[in-house]
Amino acid sequence: MTTVLFYIFALLVACSAIGVAVSRNIVRTAVCLFFTLTGVAGLYFLLNAEFLAAVQLVVYAGGTLILIVFGVMLTNRLPSAGWDVKPWEKTVALGIGAVLASALVASILSLPPRAQPDESGAYPVLELGAALLGDYLLPFELVSVVLLVVMIGAAYLAKGRRRNREAQP
């Protein structure tokens, strides 16, 4: 069962990731990305990380992606004609990808195999919470500072944005 589910999710993730890479339409790219993120969430379920899967769905698929889609929609009036990428650039990109993929896969396969973990254990959500508010309280607090600063920065850039258009060089 797990195996089947893994291959379903893996196929979903891989195919939609490739879709993200090759799709020329930005909306289609966004949809592909959504499927990728959902698939990754599925993988998290398989990896005994249910909480993370939920976060993935809520924050990533639900939040980040919506943000991206907003961005797409705000800027989508643009003509996408003439945005073609030169063939040699595609070749270089695929070359880099191929070399990196083979190098990585080769080295991953040389990693010694690890024992299957005991699947019987309950999901350690209590431990996760304790760790987050215990050992990892400091980064937890720090990330709130990051978010505060980021929020202010993003809001600054986004607000009153059409001011002084004509004053530009």
């Binding site: 080295s107 508010l133 050992d135 500072v145 600063v149 202010i152 600054y156 258009r165």
Partner: protein, 516 residues
């Protein structure tokens, strides 16, 4: 300080009593809050925020002295405090305070009233991240603080949001930064996977075991070098640097030139020291290749920066390439740390880097301040518009000259001693490091040309413009920097003793493992 907080009482918060060792960061957070609430009390929001930020930075700087000496690992090894961290924090806070002063002197009028709170929140946030970068050896914390340092910087680069070049600089910065940081996270995830821990000290220990050096470790190290190399702007991760410096305001460029690079250098320094301390030079293929990588990276970076600076016409762009070159010199010295850990030369190399940073801080602040002054008065950043500065603004020109000479490394300025010590440390190790000494030497000769070109423009070309007026504050900052450069040369011995401990953090690092 820990005792002070203990008296306040310990709410049920893990590690509450350990916060005292990070008082400077706490003061910075308080300053961020202060900046955010200041607009509610005053009409002159920009200026008030600047003052609040300045007070916060100075307060944080003062509190650095209070936490000096509280060495050890805190929060179960998430953060460490030692002489290296304390020194860097002191330098960073001093420098950022200088940037705020420079902003008051030259940039304040260029900013729309009301944007101050955002600007200083971002500046202080980035400073917080950069100050923590010197204090951590945990993979999670490394990622977190690098992002905390980077994210506000992206916005700062494009803070002039109606300015095309600013927007372009910002976009390039964020995309390049996102690319490198994502590569770094991928590397970090592999590091976690290989060794099952997030603590770099433990990872380094396991890494030293010959059998435990899997090929994926290369991906880990390359990812780390990419992520940190991006902040240092080492070749080939430097492409953002000239563009961002040119597109950003002078104050932001000045801030990034020292603070961002310095923080990343200190982080890299700590990491290579850890890796080196776990395994000696000959013992491990990892340290050998890392030493070679860093040496080549430094040499290429220095040469690339200097050569590309030759034909620049924009002062900020030129200083950007100059900062790349200087980062290269320091990376050269880092190669010693991996190679000769547990021996005195490695400690000397770490100390040389810190000394170089300390000197570099003042020469860059001075040069950028004068550039800002010229920009404010003429609206131009072209080197050609420095013509006749020797007559139009003799003090500014003299300060600029002093800073440039120090950047070249000419006596009687501190850049000379800093470079001398750096080269001497490399030279003492002999072998291939002698090549690095030659590279730095040749680069110094190369750099002479483009730095002196500015001096030439200032003194020998004169298009007969009027006297360059402007506020007194930037001149005061500039003169203070130039004076520091002279004082630091004379006082180099004291400086050396002051920073003696910076390179000798090995003991506190091994205690990280003990705490956990």
């Amino acid at each position: 300080m820990s005792s002070t907080l203990a008296i306040i009482g310990s709410p049920f918060i893990p590690g509450w009593d350990q916060l005292g060792a990070f008082l400077p960061e706490l003061v910075l957070v308080a300053a961020i809050v202060g900046v955010l609430i200041t607009p509610f009390f005053t009409e002159r929001r920009n200026f008030a925020c600047a003052v609040v930020a300045l007070v916060g930075l100075v307060g944080a700087f003062v509190s650095v002295f209070a936490v000096a000496g509280e060495d050890g690992a805190y929060f179960r090894g998430l953060l460490v405090s030692d002489s290296l961290a304390v020194l860097w924090k002191g330098l960073l806070l001093l420098f950022t305070a200088g940037i705020v002063l420079m902003w008051i002197g030259t940039m304040a009028e260029a900013m729309r009233e009301g944007d101050g709170p955002e600007f200083f929140t971002l500046l202080l946030g980035a400073t917080l991240g950069m100050s923590l970068m010197a204090s951590t050896t945990n993979l999670l914390m490394i990622f977190l603080v690098v992002e905390l340092a980077s994210l506000p910087s992206y916005v700062l680069a494009g803070f002039r949001k109606t300015h095309r070049l600013g927007a372009e600089a910002s976009l390039k910065y964020v995309l390049f930064g996102a690319a490198t940081s994502s590569i770094m996270v991928y590397g970090l995830s592999l590091a976690y996977g290989l060794y099952g821990t997030l603590d770099l000290a433990k990872i380094a220990e396991q890494m030293a075991v010959p059998g435990a050096q899997h090929v994926l470790l290369a991906v880990v190290l390359i990812g780390l070098i990419a992520g940190i190399g991006f902040k240092i702007s080492a070749v080939p991760f430097h492409f953002w640097c000239p563009d961002v410096f040119e597109g950003a305001h002078v104050d932001v460029a000045a801030f990034l030139s020292v603070a961002s690079k310095g923080a990343a250098l200190v982080l890299l320094l700590r990491m290579v020291m850890l890796i080196g301390s776990a395994a000696g030079f000959e013992a491990s293929a990892v340290t050998v290749s890392l030493a070679w990588t860093l040496g080549i990276l430094g040499a290429v970076t220095a040469t690339w920066g200097n050569l590309a600076a030759f034909a620049q016409t924009n002062i900020k762009r030129l200083l950007a390439y100059s900062s790349i070159a200087h980062a290269g010199y320091m990376v050269c010295a880092l190669s010693l740390l991996v190679a000769r850990r547990n021996e005195a030369p490695a400690a000397d190399a770490a100390q040389a880097v810190i000394l170089y940073l300390a000197v570099y801080l003042f020469m860059n602040l001075g040069a950028f301040t004068i550039a800002a002054l010229v920009w404010r008065q003429t609206g131009s950043e072209q080197i050609a518009d420095f013509s006749g500065l020797g007559r139009r603004a003799p003090i500014a020109a003299a300060v600029m000259t002093a800073c440039l000479f120090s950047l070249v490394g000419l006596p009687p300025l501190a850049g000379f001693a800093a470079k001398l010590v750096l080269m001497k440390v490399l030279f003492d190790n002999g072998g291939w490091w002698t090549v690095l000494v030659f590279v730095i030497g040749i680069n110094t000769v190369l750099s002479l040309y483009y730095y002196l070109r500015i001096v030439k423009v200032m003194y020998l070309q004169d298009r007969g413009e009027d006297v360059l007026g402007g506020p007194i504050l930037p001149r005061v900052i500039g003169v203070a920097c130039a004076a520091m450069l002279v004082i630091m040369l004379i006082g180099f011995g004291s400086l050396d003793r002051l920073t003696r401990d910076a390179g000798r953090i090995h003991d506190t690092n091994s205690s990280v493992a003990a705490v956990k």
